[in-house]
Amino acid sequence: MKAAVIVFPGSNREGDVARALKQAGADVTTVWHADTELPPGTDLAVLPGGFSYGDYLRCGAIAGRASVMDAVRAHAARGGLVLGICNGFQILCESGLLPGVLMRNAGLHFICRRQFLRVERNDTAFTRAYAAGQAIDVAIAHGEGNYVADEETLARLEGDGRVAFRYADRDGAVTPAANPNGSLNNIAGIYSEKLNVLGLMPHPENLIDDLVGGTDGRGLFQSLLAA
């Protein structure tokens, strides 16, 4: 598995995701935002967390238009895998690779805490190491993770099984109380139509170590390695 982690000015979790990928056995390179191509043989393009370009416009808006994103779009169009975490999810929405938008958290504060997610399906390249319906304990750290889409889009996402993860309680129950940011239908992550692009707000890459909170995040990277 050759993974290319794209670094934008203001990315700050590129090291965290690279560590998780390497732990799972991936061959990881970093790619600068001004580059126009991904390294030959790239299987997976990763858009890491952070505050690309300071997030001074809408989150992810400037990164969504960076030179390297043409290469990422081409990679996705060829069926290549793309993973966007947190700011990376925002960038995927801004670049047109995923529908919808991430608005400011309903509580208007940045929130960093542990958070359970329900894995909606386990037949994708990103989730095969999990069980469908499994509750996994990961972390969130964002100020703008409130997923919003128009009714038609939402119906299509739900109808096509494109919701990847939902905010849930420890038993996997999807409840309003378990929703940290106001996202519609407790959506924490979604897939593209061909299920080869995943965007999610939470940080599985920070839960890969028993000593540092737990290992529930590993499954996502192990799934990719098995892909």
Partner: protein
């Protein structure tokens, strides 16, 4: 376009914060009337914030050395050796005055400034901490300030990408007019890759890096060197604006540049901006500096020499570069989209010369700007030590559990989750111990080593008895590091006081410093960096003396550490240290009995060391399941915190008959810890403590879902949790209504 410079009048001198005597001293030094720009430069160099003119004389005596200290006070940050070729670089600094006027920007730039101090020395920041003090919760301004400061600290650290792992938040009416925002940053460098500020070599280029210069923050340091009055609101333009994105780029560009070997000296532009950084680099290196302001990247048009020299625009650096490597260096900065401009060069004249639009705007002796700054031995009064409060004179509460629930839900002791959940404390994936424990633990790279980090001070003790309070601040820092299994190595201090021109305030300062010094010596805990913030006073009302201590300890193997949560039912609860039932200056006395009086608990430094070394040994031997140090609120609050962290309760023996029970449960005797262990292990620990002369007693056993005090009193963890977790969110939510 030349702007006509104002004539130097006594009023203009006074408005620059210089006394007539100081102005005369400056004139004598240069042998003529200064220019307007020169007046600005000297006001920047000689204000309290930059010159430490009231505090220097007392700071000299602080213990700053140990075999593991690589760099003590005097550089951008302190540096200690943590083995394996690695160094820990850290410092704490205040941003009190700006944060009161504009809380969000004041706090962001406080965080930005301290991060810059750390990476200027070649270290990559791995953790941020803070210590915050606000006015009384009922003060009309407090919510707004809490909200803005917390958002600002998070806004900067979260974007920059450093975990904010520990801190403290307190409230007291004495901070109504002057809040405290003390920010600490901790970084890791290679011991052979540390960068300093002293320039070397004549004719080397001085390079300006980072963001452009604007008109923000002009006279910021001067503002921080005076009391507030009713017109302080008007000082908003002196508050700088933070840009964490620019700082993140600056970090990456600087660290990349340092790798190339082209950096001879580096200094960040903090207080007093270009002036202070250029003078410092030259003076430290025994060189002169010539600046050409035409080359300074400006954000605004028509900026004068005076404005450029005094601007405190953020995210800027000054470097002396190896001329042979200049092109390489410039390419790195261009790649990161940052400004890079040669704005001057070093000279052998020992003069600080500033040119702008073909004119010499300043020509001053560089060493004297720093070395000849006024130095005051201000008069100070020996503080009057209050009488020791007899615990039997303090009324008993309705019930101890009733008092406990009030305390765990009181502003100072309530959970600060609302605060630290706004800080990204998980980024970088090394936060082994998250906020809410005695000290944070941050793993270094892939381990096994880690750092134990904390900030501490008990201002009400310092007010009652500065010497004892100073000792206690250091001792509690040391104890918190010990309680997680760390070996305490060194501290940074952030000394926040009122107006030093008042002998009572100066007496507090001198006293606290004496106590700090004694404790640092006794505990082998040298001070390697620090900051003094005076004039925290509004209309004659000073803050409580608040010498915040930031401590760093080493955890040899992060897999061997302790947390405060009870681990299982059936463990024996052991109390380490002597309990005399000290209620003077306790939180119980203040928040339950409504009295703020008496002497604070005495700190026996030998007992601290003995008890702490004993507890650390137990942790390293893997013999204890939970550890918590005792401080605010005493024994019962400590036990409640251990129960709250786990959801497991405890049944406790009744208080000993010789003490009023509330003095036993809520007294704040020092040098104490609670540890838990299995029954077999507990027997061995009791025997070992007896041999080592460590006071230790069994006080109960873990289990159940309540705290039970003897047969008569009990309170459920659920009730405790509700009180503990709800106060701060409820208080902040009331702001919206």
């Amino acid at each position: 376009m030349t702007v006509k410079e104002p004539a130097i009048t006594p009023e203009l001198v006074a408005s620059h914060g210089l006394t007539p005597d100081e102005y005369e001293r400056f004139k004598a030094l240069i042998g003529r009337e200064p220019t307007f720009t020169e007046l600005g430069i000297v006001s920047a160099m000689w204000n309290e914030h930059c010159s430490y003119k009231s505090s220097r004389i007392h700071l000299k005596g602080l213990p700053t050395k140990a075999p593991w200290v690589i760099q003590g006070p005097g550089e951008n940050a302190g540096v200690i050796d943590i083995g394996d070729g690695l160094a820990c670089v850290f410092k704490m600094e205040s941003h009190n005055h700006p944060s009161f006027i504009e809380p969000y920007q004041g706090a962001t730039t406080g965080v930005g400034g301290i991060l810059r101090d750390v990476f200027t020395m070649g270290a990559r920041p791995v953790a941020a901490l803070n210590s915050l003090r606000f006015g009384a919760p009922e003060h009309p301004r407090t919510r707004h300030l809490v909200s803005g400061v917390v958002a600002g600290i998070g806004g900067y650290g979260n974007s920059f990408g450093v975990p904010t792992v520990a801190g403290s938040v307190g409230f007291h009416t004495r901070y109504d007019g002057n809040i405290l925002v003390n920010a600490m940053a901790v970084g890791i460098a290679r011991t052979d890759g540390i960068f300093y500020s002293a320039a070397t070599g004549v004719g080397n280029p001085i390079v300006y890096l980072g963001s452009k210069t604007g008109r923000d923050g002009i006279h910021g340091a001067t503002m921080a060197s005076a009391e507030f009055d009713e017109n302080s609101e008007e000082k908003r333009p002196t508050v700088q604006v933070g840009d964490p994105f620019a700082e993140k780029l600056l970090l990456e560009a600087c660290l990349e540049l340092m790798q190339t070997g082209s950096v001879i000296a580096i200094q960040d532009m903090g207080a007093a901006g270009l002036t202070c950084s250029a003078v410092e680099m030259g003076a430290k290196g025994g060189l002169g500096v010539e600046l050409d302001l035409d080359a300074v990247p400006c954000r605004e048009e028509g900026m004068t020499a005076y404005e450029m020299m005094l601007s405190e625009s953020q995210e800027r650096m000054l470097m002396v570069l190896d001329p042979a490597r200049q092109a390489e260096a410039e390419a790195i900065f261009r790649k990161w989209g940052l400004d890079f401009a040669v704005v001057g060069h070093t000279t052998d004249t020992l003069r600080f010369v500033v040119r702008h639009q073909g004119e010499v705007k300043a020509d001053l002796p560089i060493r004297e700007l720093g070395d000849e700054a006024p130095l005051y031995d201000r008069p100070w009064n020996e503080p009057v030590r209050p009488a020791v409060l007899d615990p039997t004179t303090v009324a008993a509460p309705v019930s101890n559990t009733e008092a406990l629930i009030r305390l765990v839900g009181s502003p100072d002791l309530a959970s600060k989750r609302w605060v630290w959940e706004q800080y990204d404390h998980l980024i970088l994936g090394n936060t082994v111990q998250t906020p809410g424990g005695d000290a944070a633990i941050v793993r270094i790279e892939d381990g096994p080593k880690g750092l134990a980090l904390t900030t501490d001070v008990t201002p009400r003790y310092c007010e009652a008895d500065p010497v004892e309070g100073g000792r206690q601040a250091v001792a509690e820092t040391w104890r918190n590091i010990t309680a997680v299994g760390g070996k305490p190595l060194a501290v940074t201090d952030n000394l926040n006081f009122g107006n030093p021109e008042r002998p009572d305030i100066m007496g507090q300062f001198v006293g606290c410093l004496r106590g700090i010094s004694e404790a640092c010596v006794a505990l082998d805990f040298p001070i390697v960096s620090g900051n003094v913030s005076l004039y925290n006073e509004t209309q004659g009302r000073a803050i409580l003396p608040t010498p915040t201590i930031g401590g760093v300890g080493l955890v040899d193997d992060v897999t061997v550490h302790a947390t405060l949560a009870f681990k299982r039912a059936g463990d024996v609860v052991l109390l380490v240290g002597e309990t005399a039932g000290w209620l003077g200056q306790s939180v119980y006395l203040r928040d339950v009995a409504g009295r703020e009086e008496g002497a604070p608990p005495p700190v026996d430094l030998a007992a601290e060391r003995r008890n702490g070394d004993f507890v650390r040994g137990l942790i390293h031997g893997g013999r204890v399941s939970a550890v918590h140090d005792l401080s605010d609120g005493g024994l019962l609050v400590g036990l409640a915190e251990m129960a709250l962290a786990s959801g497991i309760g405890a049944t406790l023996d009744p208080a000993p008959a010789e003490l009023p029970s509330h003095a036993f449960w809520f007294g704040e005797d020092q040098a104490r810890y609670i540890v838990t262990a299995t029954a077999d292990e507990a027997d061995a620990i009791v025997a070992q403590a007896r041999e080592a002369g460590v006071p230790l007693r069994r006080i109960g056993a873990t289990g159940g879902d309540a705290l039970r005090l003897g047969a008569d009193e009990a309170i459920s963890i659920e009730d405790l949790r509700r009180a503990h977790e709800s106060w701060l969110p409820d208080y902040m939510a009331a702001a919206a209504s």
